[in-house]
Amino acid sequence: MRRKDFKRIKLLISVFVLVVMIVAVFSYNIFLAVVGVLSGMLAVRILRIKSKQEIVDERVEKIGDKAARASFLIFTSILAVVSVLLVVVKKEHVYLQALGVLFSYMTSFMLVLYVLSYRYFEKEFGEDDEE
């Protein structure tokens, strides 16, 4: 299968899922939404297996990596600053302080997750093993 055909079929699947989601939202049918998303995921998976070729090229992967890294950095930084601001807010705003504490936990969780995944991929791609 050619890359162009793959993209075309993937676009058709996306449109199908979108239409199903719109119908599900307007008819308040959560079951239809779940079935729509799952069938879309399944169809893309089958398409990838059937196409039997390298669909995601390395440049696209690199772009994805960079975008994910930038998103993580921006989101975590903003979350950290907002959590500090909310924690130091006046004592009478208890709810805001609680929200600040929650945000700081979320920031810590994301940083721990980053460190863990970094360690995992470091092992995956070979550690500094001096001989």
């Binding site: 050619r2 890359r3 070729q53 390298e54 090229d57 390395e58 440049r59 696209v60 690199k62």
Partner: protein
């Protein structure tokens, strides 16, 4: 900085960017990015490029001092 002669080799063989992309298993945009020196391909892809044109990697890619 690394540069390349991909466009020279591609046009020499009368390949379109789309055709070369198909042969290399990458998108046309990736071929464009490599030709414009905006994207440095991996070693694997560089080998594939050299293989398609039946030349050595250093014939296609060179270091610009």
């Amino acid at each position: 900085m690394m540069r390349n002669k991909l466009k020279v080799y591609r046009t020499g063989r009368d390949f379109t960017q789309e055709e070369l992309g198909e042969r290399l298993g990458v998108s046309r945009q990736t071929v464009v990015a490599i030709e414009k020196n905006k994207y440095l391909p991996s070693l694997g892809l560089a080998f594939k490029i050299a293989e398609v044109f039946k030349v050595r990697i250093e014939d296609v890619f060179y270091k610009d001092e």
